[in-house]
């Protein structure tokens, strides 16, 4: 199979993730979109590793997975805490930190 297809799939997934972050209001959905973008990037890394015939991209993908796991822990904790105080998971409502 042509490796370029994997890269194109990766770009498609990244775009879906980016648009999801921009248009959705629910914090959980935004969070999932962020994860989608991360995994799109992983896919691209792995595809490039395969194309170049070395393991560099694979290693980076593992790093991204570790970081994403840690980020999920912290991010979900924040979302849950905000939901407890405001009874809402909307990302537009917590806007106190501004000019």
């Amino acid at each position: 199979m042509n490796p370029a297809n994997y890269v194109m799939l990766s770009a498609l997934l990244f775009s879906i993730g980016a648009i999801g972050v921009l248009v959705r209001r629910n914090a959980i959905i935004v969070f999932m979109s962020v994860e989608l973008m991360l995994n799109a990037a992983n896919l691209a890394f792995v595809a490039f590793a395969r194309m170049n015939g070395n393991l560099d991209g694979q290693v980076v993908a593992f790093f991204v997975m570790v970081v994403a796991a840690a980020e999920v822990v912290v991010g979900l904790a924040i979302i849950v805490t905000i939901f407890r105080t405001r009874r809402s998971a909307s990302i537009d409502e917590p806007n106190l930190l501004k000019y």
């Binding site: 921009l22 537009d92 806007n95 106190l96 000019y99």
Partner: protein, 630 residues
């Protein structure tokens, strides 16, 4: 060439001469109220101690042969930077010796007098501290062996003068007069500092010995520049035209200060500077001519101002200007005049100190009133003051055998040796001296009583009259003593040089003419102010009188030429500063502030708009990379 011998024996105590009053000043000024009770007496003792030491040194010096009378004591190495070397070194020669005696003896007498004069002043400890500071600074000035140390003394006496003119600083006029004296002196001081720099650049040294030794090797242009700068310095310190305006206002200080600083010693520092730098003026004829012109102008300005003032101290101040004008004039005449400039300086220092202290004694008895139109007929009430004042009077107008006769006559004679026009001018000024001094004694001691109702004139206490008596004896005999017994020409000749040029007519002719002119002046003064009634209110007077009452418009001229242009320049610069400089700086600040206030709006608090700007930014970067690749 005189040889320099190291200080040994009594001369080893040269530094003590300065240290005594300096320590006195330190104790009095830093000792605080604890020294209030005994401080003034300590101040007197230190100066008396210096005077005794000075006399002992004179006796020791007279035992030495004439060429071995220059003693140098290196107290410590002061400024040693590369080739610039200035030691704190003291030089005692025949010229410094006479100054040391004048400063310490007249200074001691005035200190004693001040014990009586200032006895009711709450700040008299401070007063004696300042007087001691002055004596120490003046001794540094005349004992320095290089120009930089001389400059230290020069500034020191300027400081003491400022502090003492403004001693009664609660009076706004006194505070203003002190500032005026300080600022005008600063103009002269700039001249001195520039002269010192030029001397160092030209000769590579600033010690007197080196500079005068090489003076003839320098170009005449350089020497003229140095001479004119030194003249500027002398004009500032000695109240000579065009820097004369401060001396009349300086009379706001206590009378002993006027006597010591503004008559006998400090104002003659300019004459000392010119006489000391004689080697420079001898090689720069133009500078010497400028000195003569400045002296001659000041002789007349001072005499005219002295003739019109009703304030006894200001009249005496005008007279001081005029007499110092004589000294500067004589110093400008070259080797025929230096000796007599110093001779007149000594006799003037004694008789003018006596006259000022006499004026102080009169004021002391008249409730500090200085208006001579309110005096009159005091000769019977203040007998000692009257007799001592008369001694000073006869000395200053130059009646033989009083001291002023000998010194002023020698100056007039020296002037005729140079040029009969300036000689005639000097004789005319002597006549004016006779007029204004006669006017002064006629208004003060003779005529009818014109006293204020609450005035109860009385003779001053002995502590004041004894210095008056000693100074009166000096006014009477000092001239003869210096000329016949002291041989002043021979004494000073190794330092300042002396030569006599024959005049076309015999000496007695000039003496005769001078005496006749002086007596005519005195008779006019007597007729106008003793025979006629003196009005209590000053009459309007003629043009010259009114001009003289305004100090010959010295202040007005300074105002138009210097003060107003300075104000205007300052105004322009202030406007430029506030409008242009501050304007630009403030505009920059406001601009950045406004910009920031607008940009702040982008921090909306919406997470998704931040995300959008991130995506937008990433797209722009990606686009840019692609474009660069292409």
């Amino acid at each position: 060439m005189t040889e320099i011998i190291p200080a040994e024996g009594i001369f080893g105590l040269l530094w003590v001469l300065i240290a005594l009053p300096a320590v006195g000043a330190l104790i009095l000024l830093f000792g605080g109220r604890r020294t209030n009770s005994w401080g003034p007496y300590l101040g007197v003792l230190t100066v008396v101690g210096s005077a005794i030491l000075g006399v002992l040194m004179l006796l020791a010096m007279m035992e030495q042969p004439a060429e071995q009378r220059t003693v140098v004591q290196n107290v410590y190495d002061w400024v040693f930077v590369g080739s610039f070397q200035a030691s704190f070194a003291l030089q005692l020669d025949q010229l410094s010796m006479v100054f040391v005696l004048l400063i310490t003896i007249v200074g001691a007498l005035i200190h004693i007098y001040s014990l009586g004069y200032m006895s009711h002043d709450p700040d008299r400890r401070k007063f004696f501290g300042y007087l001691n500071l002055f004596v120490a600074a003046m001794l540094i000035l005349v004992l320095a062996n290089n120009y930089l140390l001389l400059y230290v003394g020069w500034e020191g006496v300027g400081l003491a003068s400022y502090l003492l003119i403004g001693f009664w600083q609660q009076k706004p006029t006194a505070a203003a007069a002190a500032k005026k004296a300080f600022i005008i002196n600063r103009v002269g001081d700039v001249g001195l500092s520039l002269a010192i720099m030029l001397i160092f650049v030209t000769f590579g040294s600033i010690t007197f010995q080196d500079v005068f030794g090489q003076a003839s090797e320098a170009s005449e242009g350089t020497l003229t520049a140095i001479g004119l700068l030194l003249l500027l310095a002398a004009a500032g310190k000695s109240a000579q035209f065009p820097l004369q305006a401060w001396l009349l206002d300086a009379m706001e200080g206590p009378t002993p200060v006027s006597a010591l600083i503004h008559a006998a010693t400090m104002v003659t520092a300019g004459v000392y500077l010119i006489a000391r730098s004689n080697a420079i003026y001898d090689a720069a004829a133009w500078a010497a001519t400028a000195v003569v012109v400045v002296g001659l102008i000041t002789i007349f300005m001072g005499a005219i101002i002295g003739s019109a003032k009703d304030d006894i101290k200001k009249s005496l101040a005008g007279s001081t200007m005029s007499q110092i004008g004589y000294m500067v004039f004589a110093a400008g005449l070259g080797p025929i005049g230096y000796v007599f400039a110093i001779f007149h300086l000594l006799t003037h220092g004694v008789f003018k100190a006596g006259l000022f202290l006499g004026a102080g004694s009169v004021m002391h008895g008249m409730n500090d009133n200085v208006n001579m139109r309110r005096y009159g007929a005091l000769k019977g009430v203040m007998v000692i003051t009257f007799i001592t004042f008369m001694a000073g009077y006869l000395a200053i107008i130059g009646i033989p055998p009083f001291s002023g006769f000998w010194s002023k006559d020698e100056i007039i004679h020296a002037a005729f040796e140079r040029n009969w026009v300036i000689g005639a001018a000097a004789i005319l000024a002597a006549g004016i001296t006779g007029f204004y001094m006669t006017r002064m004694i006629a208004m003060t001691f003779f005529g009818k009583k014109r006293w204020e109702d609450d005035a109860h004139p009385h003779e001053s206490p002995a502590v004041m009259t004894i210095p008056l008596i000693i100074l009166a004896i000096g006014s009477t005999f000092l001239g003869m003593a210096l000329l016949f017994w002291g041989n002043i020409e021979e004494w000073l000749e190794p330092v300042v040089g002396y030569e006599s040029v024959p005049t076309p007519l015999p000496t007695s002719f000039y003496i005769g003419v001078t005496l006749v002119v002086v007596i005519i002046g005195a008779i006019i003064g007597w007729v106008m102010y003793a025979r006629k009634e003196v009005p209590v209110e000053a009459p309007r007077g003629n043009v010259l009188t009114r001009a003289a009452r305004q100090d010959l418009y010295g202040d007005a001229v300074n105002d138009v030429l210097i003060v107003q242009p300075t104000y205007r320049t300052a105004d322009v610069l202030t406007t430029f500063d506030t409008k242009a400089v501050d304007g630009f700086v403030n505009w920059t600040g406001t601009f950045v502030g406004d910009l920031a206030r607008r940009l702040r709006r982008s921090q909306s608090g919406f997470a998704r708009s931040y995300a959008l700007s991130m995506v937008g930014g990433a797209l722009i970067v990606a686009l840019a990379l692609i474009l660069v690749r292409l």
